[in-house]
Symmetry: C2
Subunit: 213 residues, 2 copies
Amino acid sequence: MISRSNKSQWKVPEPALRRLPWYLAYAKLLKSKGETLVSSTQISKEISVDSSQVAKDLSYVNVAGKTRVGYDIDSLIVVLEDFLGFTISHKAFLFGAGSLGGALLHDSGLNQYGLDVIAAFDVSPELCGTTIGGIPVYSVDRFQEIRKKNKVSIGILTVPVNQAQKTADLMIEGGIKAIWNFTPYRIRVPEHIVIQDTSIYAHLAVMFNRLKG
Amino acid sequence: MISRSNKSQWKVPEPALRRLPWYLAYAKLLKSKGETLVSSTQISKEISVDSSQVAKDLSYVNVAGKTRVGYDIDSLIVVLEDFLGFTISHKAFLFGAGSLGGALLHDSGLNQYGLDVIAAFDVSPELCGTTIGGIPVYSVDRFQEIRKKNKVSIGILTVPVNQAQKTADLMIEGGIKAIWNFTPYRIRVPEHIVIQDTSIYAHLAVMFNRLKG
C-alpha cells in the first residue's frame, strides 16, 4: 500500500499536470493583488475549467482546501511550485545552438522554473568553443565525455529536422531520460523515455489558417 | 456552395492543422535523402498517426496522391508550406521583451515559417529605444500609434503573469486578431480572437514529474 504522504509521488495524469501551472499562475496573480484565499469555484471561473476538475486536479497535490473558504494562496503557491518541480534545479543539455536553440540559451527565465541548461552541443565549428547567454557550446562529439562528468537527465532538441531522430538516438544512448522536442519532427523514442513536444510551428500554422478564414 | 477550388479556404479542424507540420517535416526529411515519392502508409508508420487519418488530413490540402504510388514529395512540400501559411510573411508585434520575449526576438528562424516580428513593446525604460535581434523595442504607450502605421494581426504575449490579461485586452483593443500566448496564464478573449497557448512551463512540469516517478 502507498501511504498518504507519498501521494505527491503518484503518477498524475498528463492533462492534470498541464493544468496545474495555470492554477499556479492564477494564484500568483491573486497574491500580487493582495488576496489571501481562493476557492476552486473562483479558479474554475477564471481558468475556464470545470470546478470539480479543479478540485480533482488539486487533490493530486498535498494541499487542503477549507470548506466554504477555499485554499490559502500562499500555501497553494508553495505546494504547487514544489510539486511541479519548479523549486529544484534540473540540469539540462541543449542540442543544436542555431536560431531557436540560441534563443532558448538567452532565456534565463527557464532557470526560475527549475531548468538549468549547463551546456549546449552543436556541429558548427563557428559555434563550438563559444558561449551563448553565458552557456558553453561544445562539439557534439564531446557529449558522452561531458555527460559522464554531469548527471544530466534532460535534453532540449533544437536541431534541424533532418538531424532530429539521429540526435535523439544519440541523446538516449548517452543517458538522457527526457527529451524536450522543439523540432516539428515526430521523433520516436523507447517507452521509458519522457518526451514533450513544443510545437511552435503547429501554433503558427493554426494562427495563420484561422486568420485567413 | 463552396467551389472545389476554394477547398483550401475551408475551416480545417485544429488537430488536423497541428498534424500537417509533422507531415511537412517528414517530407522535407525524405527529400533531403533524395526520395521522390511517399505513401500515406509510410507517413503513418513514421509519424505514428493512423493511415486513414493521414489521408483525411491531407485531403484538406490540395494535393492528390496516386493510388499505389503515393504523393510526389516536391509537390507535397510546396502545397503544405503554402497551405500552412509558411510561405507568406505575417507581420507580428511582441509584447514583453524580457527574458523569454527577448529570446524569441533572437530567433530569426521564425521568419522562415512566415512570422515577421516587426516591433516589440515593453514598459521598461532601459529596454525602450533599444533593438533586440535587430527588432526595435518601443514603449507600450506607442502601440496604438505604431499599429496604425502597420497592418499587424498577430501579437506575441511574453509579459509577466500579472500583466497577461491586461496586455491581451490592450492588444485586442488596438486591432490584434490573433494572440500567441507564451505566459502560463489562461487569458480570456472574445470569440472572434484566435488564441494559441505555447505552454513551456506545462512541458517542464510534465518532464520533471515523470522523471521523479
